[in-house]
Symmetry: D3
Subunit: 130 residues, 6 copies
């Protein structure tokens, strides 16, 4: 169970309700997932985290799906079950096909492998990469 | 210094030379970076790693630049200096602009932050994500 | 299920019982948590781990609650569910308020984010920090 | 070298100069460290990261030194050399003594060890911690 | 639940069946574990991963049990529950005794601890190790 | 440079000298590496860490070389440059051949890869492994 439980909309203070409303409006959904309901015990943390994510995940030089897949790549590397489940769901909703997911996993696996080969062989950086 | 030093082309056995030749042909370059020269002490490891990377990084459902940026995201999360330098260089060569890099870093940073918030608050997975 | 099951007090050998007794006396509780019951299959590992933790977590230049929060910070960064749950419980018992927990999580999240920005931008150390 | 080099004050755009000025005023110093000069290629990332850190690291329910030591604990666990050096320097400036540092390192080491013992023995969470 | 569910033998395409048959023949078992059934949605990933593991885990300069214990050490360090459970089971089947497991865990714990002490104290490499 | 510098033998207090003497006697060498000279600022941490390592790394159910290779596997996974260099040197001194090292690296790379595939595909544990 979440450390301090979940803050439901009906029980939320106005600052929290305002963030919940903005999440639902921005994402065009009618529900709030547990991540936000857990953070809501600290309205300052909730607001800052939401505003950062809203700014960062908006399409820009990279499109929204690419950003979502990068989020999945990090979450898989760190082994965060909640984040893997929620961001994989988001990526699929934004158009990630099974073929794209399989290639994403292949790259993530390979990078994790070669990171350790580079560490283990104590490889010096080539002049060309400096 | 790399654990067993670097295997230069001139000193390589035929199996290693064949991999080096394929790397240069595939990448359209005339040099081999230290990663491969370090692994070349074990021709089996060298060949397997190269063939895996060649297969995985080829454009498919995801384009080559997206794959390279995912590689960077993993390497940054793991903190592998060699891999960060070499794959950032590759991504720039394939067209990653400073704006794209800045957004990539923003997503990687945010994902690393929220992974820990999800861990720390012991958040349960929503039914909708199962 | 724990790899080799749990060693209950009634079934423990004298060396294990002695450690269990010291844990309960030191912590002023009347039960032993699963961490110790799992390690107890190896009395040497059990004794060494307990004596290390007892020495390290005792108040010194840092007070006991600060140490417990640092433990939580590491466990959250590594994503160890057992350790997060048990040390968050300990920290709350030692006086961590919801406000302190929220600030702890904010720092842990921010540090995890900025660690990756420093990695990703390949930032050189300033002379002033050497 | 930092991926896109460092943005010096004299060369900075007004948005970046404003952040630099606020960093120096808040920290009561007359120089900017490389972390900020590297991020400054993206004024949006620079401003967001600085405002988050400024808010998070200000004394609140936890004092400034405790926050700085938690930052060090995370950076040491992740193995980020830049962050370890810069935040250890900050913590010492804020009053961390060698005795406090030694205890901090002892707790960080122990937590990293016991996190893996909990993982490795596949220990189930006690009812009391749920 | 696995992201795209599990591919059972009866429903598998010929390429997947061929890999399943080789896994069962190589391992002398009559069942396929969920790891392979999950990857099987991408026959290319399945085949590459299986052939790599088959080549890497075969006895060579290191015996099969030593390799399995190294696999466990990495999985415990990364905190991957599936891999810890499945490779601990494999290692026990190949002859790992409770005493060997306890020593394995002790080394993994100690290495994780001392890795952070080396990071935290910012220790320079001795000339003798270069 | 190490955070508080290195404690040389000539300048050490009796408690530290006793540990240094035991390290040299146990390892049959006439020098102390920087890891110990850095920790020596805290004689309690120095003594505890050395006694733990001495106990853990002694041959038992696992031989000394196997333990050293497991140490390398963890250090490579965590990316600790000091620990990789020093424990690879130790393992070579204890008889690790280039062939054994190459197989060690292959297993470490593969485990890091498959840990992420298991995470990413959200694979449920088979009944047989519970």
């Amino acid at each position: 169970m979440a450390t301090y439980g979940l803050v439901e909309y009906a029980d939320a203070c106005p600052e929290v309700k305002a963030v919940y409303d903005d999440i639902m409006a921005t994402r065009k959904t009618d529900w709030i997932n547990n991540f936000w309901k857990s953070l809501a015990h600290d309205p300052v943390l909730l607001k800052r985290t939401w505003e950062d994510i809203k700014q960062i995940m908006a399409p820009g030089a990279l499109d929204a799906l690419t950003k979502e897949m990068i989020y999945v790549a990090v979450s898989v590397t760190n082994g965060c079950p909640y984040c893997i489940a929620s961001h994989t769901a988001s990526a699929r909703k934004k158009g990630m096909t099974p073929e794209m997911f399989a290639e994403l996993m292949s790259v993530v696996g390979m990078a994790n492998e070669s990171n350790r080969l580079a560490n283990g062989y104590q490889i010096e950086l080539d002049e060309q990469f400096k």
